[in-house]
């Protein structure tokens, strides 16, 4: 743009970058407050977590480098971690895909309704995820005595004779956590799907009908899904991350620690070492493993979703 006869005719890469940076200074000023907080509370912690995971650190003494000891202990000596890993994977494999499907299917069905009914049902399905501690209602539903709604129901209709210890019997704990977690799971991805469905170009459906699309399933597969790919991608990220981080529901419903660790997850294990035992090196090793699981699952699923419909 500028023509300065004395300057070198072609700016070197470095100079060009510097010029660009100077030209963009207002943008950096606008971004600075967020960037500082984001780096401090998200990016730096991830790096720190990796570093601390190679040390013994209890907050009182300075961290001591111990190499891979934490990881070796985690995978070879810590039986509870293996249980936690197993539970986390079971919970994620069930609640992840199921909640994703639920979010989409309900959004899709709701989209067929008139505006009033549509907003009412959106509220009905979305409300659990913003209702704070209302999920504690499930304590009453799954209470282990005959007054628990689930037990009372099953006894009255003759399915069982004695009340089941839903929250204390290791055989039922994961089931209870799954049910409650699914109930809570129609969050932002559900809203993203609702919004995505509303913004699909209506003329595509007319054109599709002309091209020989016969029923709603074909319409869904050939028109709706491909037009919603960006929202589907976003929803996948949200559901994967949530389903691998289940902890609050487990801790509040089946206890912390739960009987025989049957409701223990990677995150509750992390909380145990991080905030109860103050073994921060070990907690960081757990966090790093969890981080790697979450990022790699997300990237793999993203690759798969990208291929769908191509």
């Amino acid at each position: 743009m500028e023509s300065n006869v004395n300057a070198t005719p072609i700016l070197s890469k470095k100079e060009l970058l510097w010029k660009n940076i100077k030209k963009s200074k207002h943008y950096y000023v606008l971004m600075a407050p967020y960037a500082i907080l984001f780096l401090t509370f998200t990016i730096v912690p991830v790096i720190m977590s990796l570093g601390i995971s190679f040390s013994y650190f209890n907050l009182l003494e300075p961290p001591r480098f111990i190499g891979l000891d934490n990881y070796i202990k985690l995978f070879l000596e810590d039986d509870v971690f293996i249980i936690a890993l197993r539970n986390t994977l079971i919970l994620a494999v069930v609640t992840g895909p199921v909640s994703y499907l639920m979010a989409f299917v309900f959004a899709w069905l709701i989209n067929e309704l008139g505006p009033k009914l549509r907003s009412f049902l959106t509220l009905v399905f979305y409300a659990p995820s913003i209702s704070g501690n209302a999920f504690l209602m499930w304590l009453l539903i799954f209470s282990g005595d005959v007054h628990g709604y689930a037990n009372a129901f099953l006894i009255r209709y003759g399915f069982i004779d004695n009340p089941l210890q839903w929250l204390k019997d290791p055989d039922y704990m994961l089931l209870v956590i799954i049910i409650v977690q699914l109930w809570l799971s129609l969050g932002v991805s559900f809203l993203a799907f609702i919004a995505g469905l509303q913004s699909v170009d209506r003329t595509l459906y007319e054109a599709g009908a002309v091209d020989g699309i016969k029923n709603r399933w074909q319409e869904l597969w050939f028109i709706t899904l491909p037009s919603m790919k960006p929202q589907l991608m976003f929803g996948a990220v949200m559901q994967i991350t949530t389903s691998l981080a289940i902890a609050a529901v487990s801790m509040q419903l089946v206890g912390f620690p739960s009987v025989q660790y049957a409701g223990h997850t990677i995150v509750t294990h992390l909380i145990d070492f991080g905030t109860v035992r103050y073994d921060l090196g070990y907690a960081s090793a757990i966090a790093t493993v969890l981080f790697l699981i979450m990022i790699s699952t997300n990237l793999i699923v993203r690759q798969v979703l990208r291929k769908v419909g191509n």
């Binding site: 401090t40 209702s131 501690n133 029923n215 709603r216 074909q218 997300n298």
Partner: protein
């Protein structure tokens, strides 16, 4: 209008309609039941709480549970209004700060090209891929290092940097026409004026979304490991202490849960259409 509904009915069979809407009905009930029970239990006398089948609506409507709650509140060591004040402080500063600071960052990310933009936004997207629990331990060290332990800032500052809000705001701003910004620039407006006077008013739907997402997180915070002083604890902590206990407190627990749930839900009811509008731009490549 009529034309539209007609095309929407295209390719729909009655059998399919009936089948699919019964699914919607069943799951809608499953979704609403615990919330309805929470609300109705809050107004039930204790002897009605354990009736089977549980009544969806209380027979003898009572405010007993709320009275019990206020009695327990009256006995608390720190005046209850103090807990409320703490929560309102954390929630309002956190949400307002988040909306302003995240929008300020979203604007250049959405509308301009400059060195570092791509890598910064990639980091934000990656941060959506792991849960905040991953960084809990180093966060504690950092927050105590800065000296924020036992202050409301320990809760507020990390919340302001929530990456979902920035992501959604950036996506929403991307759809503002470039010409609008260009013409303001030609008129001599600075970047800051463009941001505050042109962009911000246009993205009101996204404000509401960022507010509701952060509001529910901060409204229910109990201070975690960060706040120790009783007089700085949020209301959610105090209510949980009160509700702790066995089945005899079921009525009080329901009253507490009702109070905690009704505020975010009401907020969502009022802002639903704007929130949904924001999410139509949430897509990811």
């Amino acid at each position: 209008m009529k034309f539209l509904t007609k095309t929407r009915r295209l390719n729909r069979s009655l059998g399919g309609d009936i089948f699919l809407f019964s699914i919607l009905l069943i799951f809608g009930f499953f979704s609403a039941y615990p919330l309805i029970m929470t609300a109705s239990n809050a107004f039930k006398p204790l002897d009605e709480l354990f009736l089977f089948p549980p009544r969806l609506l209380p027979r003898n409507l009572t405010l007993e549970n709320f009275r019990d709650l206020s009695e327990l509140i009256g006995n608390s060591w720190v005046p209850f209004s103090r807990y409320f004040f703490n929560t309102i402080l954390i929630t309002s500063i956190g949400t307002i700060g988040h909306v302003i600071i995240a929008s300020m960052a979203a604007f250049p990310l959405a509308k301009y090209k400059f060195p570092g933009r791509a890598i910064f936004f990639t980091l934000v997207v990656y941060s959506l891929m792991f849960a905040p629990q991953v960084t809990a331990t180093p966060n504690y060290i950092i927050i105590s290092g800065i000296g924020l332990i036992d202050t409301p800032s320990a809760i507020i500052l990390p919340a302001i940097a929530s990456s979902l809000g920035l992501y959604l705001m950036k996506q929403f701003m991307s759809q503002i026409p470039d010409e609008l910004i260009e013409s303001a620039k030609i008129d001599g407006a600075s970047e800051y004026r463009i941001f505050f006077q042109i962009v911000m008013p246009l993205v009101k739907p996204a404000w509401l979304t960022l507010i509701i997402l952060l509001f529910q997180r901060l409204w229910t915070t109990d201070g975690g490991n960060f706040i120790f002083s009783e007089e700085l604890k949020p209301v959610s902590y105090a209510l949980r202490q009160i509700a702790q206990g066995t089945i005899e407190r079921a009525g009080t627990i329901a009253a507490v849960a009702f109070i905690m749930m009704i505020v975010p839900v009401t907020f969502f009811i009022l802002s639903q259409s704007k929130v949904v509008e924001t999410f139509s731009h949430s897509g990811m490549k």
